[in-house]
Every structure is written in structure tokens, then in C-alpha cells.
């Protein structure tokens, strides 16, 4: 692998993560679509609850892929977005509708409101992955030429490969979601819901396998170079690995071993992304190899280093979040028994803080007014920001409504 390919590898990791995690969120909404009646309400609530803590982070993978693309392969990004204006704009509208519906669903009170919001949510959750899938199909079948809107605005994404890829994107999401939701239901100890999602996972697994085989045939016939190479080593190995992982997952689901199934399903989807990448290599767009498309060396190095440094913060943070979710910490009230340790505010401290705030303000003001740059201006700006922060604490403590504090029984919590 060369330096020019390194950001592409990061994009593929991001794309696989988005296909798996974002796909699962889209798929969860897919299962809400058909859910009616009392069991339906319960199923919908389960899907929302499972998605709640993670969907925003999962969505960021899409942004991650985009920003690396436009930094490291700017001409490819511009070509793709200008030619595929229609599907990508549809995906963008789908993202807005989906996020808005998610934001407001918590406030729904009446059945009719719930129905309306859930419909918008589910339909946009099908539309968005379909539109993104057609865009992937357009790139894979070489229908995006280099240049500003140089490809056909319609046939570039309405063609056999694009449609097959779009359908596959929706189907894989539904499949992964069913596997995940079955696992989540098991963890929550809900046997009926577990059985409901186990059935869905099995059905969706079979359906997705069929769709994938059909899609493979369509792509092989329609997608030209990528279609041919998909059936050759090394891409074929990834395709075979995906099929094997998919079958293994079905067996895990059948035996109700949902934890290994979770990883099997993820591997099946990630392998599809890998297979596409191997078949597409070395050209990003027709006549444009990765080497030609790549930005200059300093940008590539900065991108890789930036992602590495960011990863040092991101990976442990994601581990905390998924650890809390998968261990079921967000499922029910654990009711932390520890009393919050209280320190009673002391008047002297408040006065000295007020003094500090005034000093910060008095130092910062002239520095910012006098200097046009350099360390002294920076010191002034920092002083002014610190002044706002410290003075806020002083005033908020002083104006906090009186009462209630006296009634605070220190260690009452041991009783709960």
C-alpha cells in the first residue's frame, strides 16, 4: 500500500462501519414500518430504545467518509457529488427527515402523532440507504466521469447496478438490525420480543442472501470492469467470506446465540465493502487511478496523522459508549446508591472568586483593546473568557434560589 492509498483505507473502514452500524439503525426503522397494534408499539419502542444512545455516533461515520474523501481525493469527491446530485440530494433530505423524526418522536403522546412520525422515520430510513446505495452502484459501474457534472444526471444512478446496490443496502440494514435487536431483546430478558426478532433475522438473512446473489449477477453483467473483477481473485475471496459469514450468522441466530451472530452479521456486510474496494482497485473513477486522484503528500500525511491522533481519543470513547450499551447499563435504572458529596459554599470563597473575576476582566480588557496580535492579545482573550466563566459561577451561586438545601439528608440514599 502506498501513501496515496492510506486515506482510502481509512475511508473503507469508515464506510464499513457506516454500512454496519448506520445500516443497523436504518434497518431498525425498517422493522418499525410494518409493526402495528400492541405488539407493534412494543416493537417500535424497542427499536427506538436500542438506537437512542448510538445513532448519532453511527451517523458520524458518513461524515467521516465524506471529509476524508474531499481532503485526500478532492477531484473524485467533486465529480461524484456533481454527477450524482439527485441521489445524494435525496439522501440528504432523507437524513434531515430521519433526524427530525427521531428528535420529535420522544414528544409524541397520541397514537395518530406516533403513527405519522413513525411513518416519516421508517420511509426516510429506507429512502436514504437506497439512495446512497445507488450512488455506490454508479461509482462501481464507472458511470461517474471526472469533472463538474460531466456524467448523466439520471442514468448514472438509475441503472441495473445502482438499483441492485440500493436494494442490497436496504436489505443488509434490515438483516443486521434484526440480529442486533434480537440480541438486545434477549439481554433485556424479553423472550417474546427475542422470538419475534429471531424470526425476522432468519427471514431477512435468507432474503438478503438471495438479494446479494441477484445483485452479484446484475453487477457482473452490467458493471463492466468492476463486475468482471468481482468474480476474480482477490475480490472473489471477500465475496465468498461474506457469504460464509452470512451463513454462519444464520446458524448462530437459529441456535439463539445472538452475541456471535452480531459479529458474524457485521463481518458479512463489511466483507461486501471490502470486495467492492478490491474489485474497484486501482481506479477510483474511469481513467483516474488512486495515485492520480490523491492530494499532495503533505495533505495525505496530515490526514493520516490527524486520523491517528483523533483515533486515540475516538477509540476509547466508542469503547465506553458501546460498553455501556452492550452491558445493558442504559436499559434500566441501576439507581446509583452513592450520595452526592456536598460541600457547603463558603462566603469567603465566593468573594475571592468575585475578586478573581474582576481581576481577569480588568487584565483582559486593555490587552484585547491595545494589541492586534501575538501572545499578549491571546492572554487578553483568554482572560476575558475566564472572566465570563468565573463571574458566571459567582453570580449563579449567589442568585441560586434559597431553600431546600437544609432539607438535604446526607446519607438517605442507603435506604433506596
Amino acid at each position: 500500500m502506498t501513501l496515496a492509498e492510506a486515506p482510502l483505507l481509512l475511508m473503507l473502514v469508515g464506510l464499513a462501519a457506516y454500512a454496519v452500524l448506520g445500516g443497523a439503525d436504518f434497518g431498525a426503522a425498517f422493522w418499525q414500518l410494518g409493526a402495528r397494534g400492541e405488539q407493534g408499539a412494543w416493537l417500535r419502542e424497542h427499536a427506538y430504545r436500542a438506537m437512542g444512545p448510538v445513532w448519532e455516533a453511527n451517523h458520524v461515520w458518513l461524515v467521516f467518509v465524506l471529509v476524508i474523501c474531499w481532503t485526500a481525493y478532492p477531484q473524485s469527491f467533486a465529480s461524484i457529488f456533481s454527477t450524482l446530485t439527485i441521489p445524494l440530494f435525496i439522501a440528504a433530505l432523507g437524513v434531515i427527515l430521519r433526524g427530525t423524526a427521531y428528535a420529535v418522536h420522544a414528544g409524541t403522546a397520541r397514537e395518530i402523532e406516533r403513527r405519522a412520525i413513525d411513518s416519516v422515520f421508517s420511509l426516510s430510513s429506507i429512502l436514504t440507504p437506497f439512495a446512497l446505495g445507488t450512488a455506490v452502484g454508479a461509482i462501481a459501474s464507472g458511470r461517474v466521469p471526472v469533472g463538474n457534472a460531466r456524467g448523466d444526471l439520471v442514468t448514472s444512478w438509475l441503472n441495473p447496478t445502482s438499483i441492485a446496490t440500493g436494494v442490497l443496502a436496504v436489505a443488509t440494514g434490515a438483516y443486521i438490525a434484526a440480529v442486533y435487536l434480537a440480541g438486545d431483546a434477549r439481554r433485556a430478558g424479553d423472550d417474546e420480543l427475542t422470538a419475534a426478532f429471531r424470526r425476522r433475522a432468519l427471514a431477512a438473512g435468507l432474503a438478503t442472501g438471495t438479494v446479494a446473489l441477484c445483485a452479484l449477477a446484475v453487477v457482473a453483467a452490467d458493471a463492466g470492469r468492476v463486475g468482471e473483477r468481482l468474480l476474480e481473485w482477490p475480490a472473489l475471496a471477500a465475496v465468498a467470506a461474506s457469504a460464509a459469514a452470512g451463513l454462519l450468522t444464520l446458524e448462530f441466530v437459529r441456535r439463539e446465540r445472538f452475541e456471535p451472530a452480531r459479529y458474524g452479521a457485521s463481518a458479512a456486510v463489511a466483507s461486501v465493502v471490502l470486495g467492492w474496494a478490491l474489485a474497484q482497485r486501482p481506479e477510483l473513477l474511469p481513467g483516474l487511478t488512486v495515485e492520480q486522484a490523491a492530494a499532495g503528500r503533505p495533505t495525505l500525511i496530515a490526514t493520516v496523522v490527524g486520523v491517528a491522533v483523533g483515533g486515540l481519543v475516538l477509540v476509547p470513547s466508542l469503547a465506553i459508549l458501546f460498553g455501556l450499551v452492550l452491558r445493558g447499563r442504559f436499559d434500566k435504572d441501576v439507581g446509583s446508591a452513592k450520595a452526592a458529596r456536598r460541600r457547603h459554599p463558603t462566603p469567603q470563597r465566593r468573594i475571592s472568586l468575585l475578586g478573581l473575576a474582576l481581576v481577569l476582566g480588568a487584565v483582559g480588557l486593555p490587552l484585547v483593546l491595545v494589541f492586534d496580535g501575538g501572545a499578549l492579545l491571546a492572554a487578553g482573550v483568554v482572560s476575558l473568557l475566564a472572566f465570563v466563566a468565573v463571574a458566571s459561577l459567582v453570580i449563579v451561586s449567589a442568585l441560586a434560589p434559597p431553600g431546600a438545601t437544609e432539607n438535604h439528608p446526607g446519607n438517605d440514599a442507603s435506604r433506596t
Partner: protein, 470 residues
């Protein structure tokens, strides 16, 4: 100079786009929807943490109750911010492919780093909001801190790119392509970045603070003056009231930086045609025929503000060809609106701070609360006006002095259709946001003891009445 037919053959040569203006409007609309929500992303987590901090220190459950209720608002607004922000990144490619193709490698790193900030915000906002009653109080409080930090780093990364567009550096142009790209220098070695960052970051606290305060000021006028409302008013109002006067000082710094790096934009702020020493500021009026009509002149003020010297020479619009000047009236009116509103907000803040320092209490005059009700929406007006000032003031350039906006636009057709659909979807989004905020506000206030086992206690005479009204 390259021949026109050779230019046309290049893949990212300028195209003839009939709907350039609509494309610009579409981008502007997307910004205008996103930016106020960003303010809540910047400041609201800090407000919530302040309340939780007061609860941890005093044990008064009312603060925990407000923090918990507000964190739901925070999450809903974050979700809306996530999607409206995603649209902006899509639009960079959908509307301005030539800009991205040519300069993506120069400024893209800023957005790459922003993605990590975005990740952290999404991860910890989820842990914080879903962690109430599930984490220990200390762990819960700590999980909110990365959200506040990410609000700052996110602003930093996005503004590195905007500052670069206004004062581009860190590259050379060779034969129509960028060469010798130095991304770190382009983004972080740019003096123009820092005032934009501080100005916007403070604006976030002012907008979120005054908007939130205006909601409770409205309630105060309606008689909802219980302990809950009082605690909920004090936090955002205090921060906004301290930030508003500081913003004037920072704005002064910003104006000096514009004078240094973008003299044409500064000339458009005032509508100054001829280069002058001791240039005046005109309040109000209209720029017509190379001069300000019907404005109130304040002699030498422009020189004083821009260079802190009443006799300084200020470059006028005449220094650049007419095709390189921004639309003066749009920029000028937006600038004066921003500054005017800024002073009004600082005035409201001064009343609040004065009463606190003299009496250690909240103001009691109904006029103060009426002013607060107006201050919230006004702060949004100032925010948008400020962005109009800087973004329209940069025109006709997308990359100042390097690429004109019409050279950046897409060659795809159908912009009016896209614009119309976006307007419809955003109208729906705004309606939905208003609806959910009202719904969340109407949910009955239930003062939970919280993990420290504090007995529920709701005092304040207005409480039962306010429950009825909600």
C-alpha cells in the same frame, strides 16, 4: 492567460450556471437554519453542567430537575444539529464542486479533525443524557465535560476553514492547480482565525443564553416565578449577560482584523467609496451612487475603530474594480444590525449586572423582563446578520482573491427544484422543532430526589398556578 476553449476542456473549468443566485440562497438558507442550533450545541451543555454542578454542591434537587429536563432539549437539538450539519457538508459537493476539487486538499484537514470532534460530542452527549440515574453522580457530571469541550473544538475546526476562505494561505497556484500545499499552515497559521473563533464562540453563549432566558422571562411576566423558573432563568441569563459586553470588545478586535486582511470588506461595512484619512461612520442611510445618503455621520469614527487612530487612512471601494466589490448595502445593513443589536443586548446585560452588584438580586421591573423576551430573538438576528456580514462581505470571492463564487458552482441542472424542496423540508423541520420544544416544556415538572435521596420539595407560590397554565 489560458485560451477559453482550453479552459472549457479542463474537468473543473468554470461552467455557465443559470441559477448561481439560487445556489447561493440554498447554501445561505442551510447555514441560517444550522447556525442557531450550533449555538445551543456550544452553550447548552455548559448551562446544563452548571445546573448539575450547583446540585452536586448544594444538594438542591430543583437544579438537578432542570438539568435533566434541559438535557432532553439538548439531545433533541443536537439531533437536529447533526442532520442540518450533514446537509451543509453534502452541499459543499452538490453545489460547489469546483471549489472542493481545487481547494479540498488545502482546507479539508479542518473538516477531518472536526469529524472527530463531532464523534466525541455524539458519544458523550448520549452517555450524559442516557446516563441519568444510571451512572454515579460524579461519573455523570464528568461525562458532560467532553460535550462542552467538543463544542469548542468543533467551532475551532469549522472556523479554520471559514477563516481560510476569508484569508487564504498555505498554498501556491501553478497552472490553475494548487501546489506546495501546507495544510497546517493554511488552517492554524492564519491570523484571521482567532477573532472569528472567539467572536462566534461567545455568540453561541449569547444566543443560547438570551433565547433560553427569554422563554423564562415570558413565563415571569405571566406570573410563573417559582423556584424552578428562577433557577432556570439565572443560569443562561447570567452567562449571556457577562458574554454580551465582552462581545463588544471582541467585535472591536474582529473589525481591526478585517481592516488589516480584507480592506474591501471593511469599506463595504461603511459604504466608503473613496480612500480617506480620518474616515467617518454613517449611522443608517443607504449606499447609492458611491456615497451614503441620509446617514448620520460620526466623523473619524471609522478610522478610530479600524485602526484605533482617528486620522488613519482607510481604503475605499475604489481601490478594487467594480466586479470585485461585494453588494454594499446588504453587507452594510447587516453589519449595522449586528452592531446595533450587540449594543442593545449589552445594555440589557448592564441592567442585570448593575442590579446584581448593587442589590444581590434579580431585577424586579417588568420592563426588564419585557426587554429579555425581545432579547432572545434579537440575538438570533444579530447572529445571522453577523454571518451575512462576513460571508456576503467576502463576495464575489469564495476563496478571497483566488476563486470567484461563480467559478465554484456546479454544472448540474435542477437547482431551483432542489432549493424548493429544501425550503419545504426545512419549514417542516422548524415546525417540528417548535412542536417538540413546546411538548417538552409542557411535560409536568416532577422534582425527583435523585440518587442522593433528597426529598422532593417544591416551594414558590406560583407553582400550582404555573402547572395549570402549562
Amino acid at each position: 492567460m489560458t485560451l477559453p476553449h482550453l479552459l472549457a476542456a479542463a474537468p473543473f473549468a468554470p461552467v455557465d450556471q443559470e441559477y448561481l443566485f439560487e445556489a447561493r440562497q440554498m447554501q445561505a438558507l442551510s447555514f441560517a437554519v444550522h447556525i442557531p442550533i450550533v449555538c445551543f450545541g456550544i452553550a447548552f451543555p455548559a448551562f446544563v453542567l452548571m445546573l448539575e454542578g450547583v446540585w452536586l454542591r448544594t444538594g438542591d434537587p430543583i437544579h438537578r430537575t432542570i438539568a435533566k429536563r434541559w438535557s432532553k432539549v439538548m439531545l433533541a437539538l443536537f439531533a437536529v444539529g447533526v442532520v442540518t450539519g450533514t446537509i451543509l457538508s453534502f452541499e459543499l459537493g452538490l453545489l460547489w464542486p469546483n471549489f472542493m476539487a481545487t481547494y479540498g486538499e488545502v482546507f479539508g484537514l479542518g473538516f477531518t479533525l472536526e469529524a472527530f470532534s463531532f464523534f466525541l460530542e455524539a458519544i458523550f452527549i448520549a452517555i450524559y443524557v442516557y446516563g441519568w440515574d444510571r451512572l454515579s453522580p460524579r461519573a455523570h457530571f464528568l461525562s458532560g465535560i467532553p460535550v462542552v469541550v467538543a463544542g469548542f473544538t468543533g467551532s475551532l475546526m469549522v472556523l479554520t476553514v471559514n477563516a481560510w476562505m476569508n484569508n487564504p494561505g498555505g498554498f501556491r497556484v501553478e497552472g490553475g492547480r494548487v501546489a506546495d500545499v501546507r495544510p497546517l499552515e493554511a488552517l492554524f497559521g492564519n491570523e484571521y482565525l482567532w477573532h472569528e473563533l472567539v467572536h462566534m464562540y461567545i455568540a453561541g453563549y449569547i444566543v443560547a443564553g438570551f433565547l433560553t432566558a427569554s422563554v423564562y422571562a415570558w413565563g415571569w411576566l405571566k406570573g410563573r416565578r417559582g423556584r424552578y423558573e428562577r433557577a432556570a432563568l439565572v443560569v443562561p441569563l447570567t452567562v449571556a449577560a457577562l458574554a454580551a459586553p465582552v462581545q463588544i470588545v471582541v467585535g472591536d478586535w474582529a473589525a481591526r482584523s478585517v481592516a488589516r486582511d480584507q480592506p474591501t470588506k471593511l469599506a463595504a461595512f461603511e459604504g466608503l467609496y473613496e480612500t480617506e484619512e480620518g474616515a467617518a461612520v454613517h449611522l443608517g442611510g443607504w449606499y447609492h451612487g458611491d456615497e451614503i445618503r441620509y446617514g448620520v455621520p460620526l466623523p473619524r469614527l471609522l478610522s478610530l475603530l479600524a485602526f484605533h487612530d482617528p486620522d488613519a487612512r482607510v481604503e475605499g471601494l475604489e481601490e478594487v474594480p467594480a466586479t470585485e466589490r461585494p453588494p454594499v448595502n446588504v453587507v452594510r445593513v447587516a453589519f449595522q444590525t449586528m452592531v446595533g443589536v450587540g449594543f442593545v443586548l449589552a445594555g440589557v446585560a448592564a441592567v442585570y449586572l448593575y442590579v446584581f452588584l448593587r442589590r444581590r438580586r434579580l431585577p424586579e421591573s417588568a420592563w426588564f423582563y419585557r426587554a429579555l423576551v425581545v432579547a432572545g430573538p434579537l440575538s438570533v438576528v444579530a447572529l445571522i446578520a453577523g454571518w451575512v456580514t462576513t460571508e456576503v462581505g467576502r463576495q464575489p470571492w469564495v476563496v478571497y482573491s483566488h476563486m470567484r463564487t461563480e467559478e465554484a458552482v456546479t454544472g448540474a441542472s435542477g437547482i431551483p427544484l432542489g432549493y424548493a424542496s429544501l425550503v419545504l423540508v426545512y419549514a417542516g423541520l422548524l415546525a417540528a422543532v417548535v412542536w417538540i420544544l413546546r411538548r417538552l416544556a409542557r411535560a409536568p415538572v416532577d422534582v425527583q430526589p435523585g440518587p442522593s435521596g433528597v426529598a422532593p420539595l417544591v416551594s414558590g407560590a406560583a407553582r400550582p398556578e404555573s402547572e395549570e397554565r402549562r
